[in-house]
């Protein structure tokens, strides 16, 4: 895609659509309470979307052309373990980065 007008139109459409998704329930439903079954489902939003978003990025990283990389696998596992045990987000990311570079260095 090279036409500047087309690029801006694409960006604007994604921006507007994303805003409408974010505004959907907040904007339309307002103060009305959601039914209990909906609240029960929504409790699992984060753990339902993010693991699925991440899994392919860990197993088939674009940076290696989709080939599974031991350093990235080890880093992801380290971040998960540190995150689950300490609940410290930054510590988990930092630990994962250390493992990533250590394994990359070890494997040359």
């Amino acid at each position: 895609m090279t036409d500047p007008l087309m690029i801006w139109a694409t960006i604007a459409a994604i921006g507007l659509g994303t805003f409408l998704l974010r505004f959907s329930f907040l904007g339309l439903i307002g103060g009305r309470a959601l039914p209990p079954w909906a609240l029960r489902l929504l409790r699992y939003t984060s753990v339902a979307v993010m693991p699925g978003l991440v899994a392919p990025l860990v197993l088939w990283p674009a940076a290696t052309g989709g080939t599974t990389d031991p350093a990235r696998m080890a880093a992801a596992l380290a971040t998960l373990l540190i995150g689950v045990t300490t609940r410290n987000m930054l510590g988990a990311i930092f630990g994962g980065a250390v493992v990533l570079y250590a394994v990359q260095f070890a494997l040359g």
């Binding site: 459409a13 994604i14 659509g17 994303t18 329930f25 029960r40 899994a55 860990v58 995150g83």
Partner: protein
């Protein structure tokens, strides 16, 4: 200090660690966007208008591949469909705010701000809606402005970052670190496991529809596991 101020400060502190994470993430987007042919204003426009890293990366990738415009838009919005779920989850807490305030909250509703707000509203259910809104805007400050500025920085840096640094992996590590502390009950763990299994199994489906099905299946798994465990306790 007024309760709203306290809440705003608490929000700021809760999401402050994200600033350090958003920095490489935004720089990476700026680098990748300019490398795939976008100008500096287009790259910054992307981050200001869309404010959603994963969707932006997906869109830029497909623009570079010359995918059809409608497919690019549909894919980016499919990646962002989770925002509607966040919107629904925040409605019981912020739904009574005035319309302009809800629209502003919607604009800055991201994975990060949602994650810290959901945890805070869970822990302090007695807060007034005004305090909850204040917490939310406090949590936006370390995220969105850093996102815009780091995108601009990355667009300037262009190709100067060596690939050996594997900066691409900052994205998945961030998501894992967000989710890990949430795995606090068997139902949450079951939902996460189903999400991973279905997302990998359905990865071949076109236009990110696999991720959407995986998310729906995982949410149902979490809710059903919760019901099942409650019944077990009662019996």
């Amino acid at each position: 200090m007024s309760p709203r101020r306290t809440a705003a400060l608490r929000g700021f502190r809760a999401s402050a660690p994200f600033a350090i994470v958003m920095l490489p993430f935004g720089i990476l987007f700026g680098v990748i966007a300019t490398e795939s042919g976008l100008t500096l204003p287009q790259t910054i426009g992307f981050s200001v208008l869309v404010v959603a890293g994963a969707a932006q990366f997906a869109a830029v990738q497909m623009m570079a591949d010359n995918a059809p415009v409608l497919v690019i838009i549909a894919t980016a919005l499919a990646v962002n469909l989770r925002m509607a779920m966040y919107s629904a989850a925040l409605t019981p807490h912020l739904g009574t705010a005035p319309g302009w305030l809800r629209a502003t909250i919607a604009y800055v509703l991201t994975d990060q701000t949602f994650a810290v707000a959901a945890v805070d509203y869970d822990r302090r259910p007695a807060q007034r809606p005004g305090e909850k809104a204040a917490f939310f805007f406090g949590s936006v400050l370390p995220v969105c402005p850093v996102w815009y500025l780091s995108t601009a920085l990355g667009a300037q840096l262009g190709t100067a970052i060596p690939p050996a640094l594997s900066i691409d992996f900052a994205v998945p590590l961030t998501f894992i670190a967000i989710v890990a502390p949430l795995l606090r009950s068997p139902a949450h763990i079951a939902a996460a496991v189903v999400s991973v299994a279905l997302a990998l199994g359905l990865a071949g489906l076109p236009y990110n529809t696999g991720l959407l099905l995986a998310a729906a299946g995982a949410m149902a798994t979490g809710a059903l596991t919760e019901i099942w465990l409650e019944r077990g306790v009662r019996a």
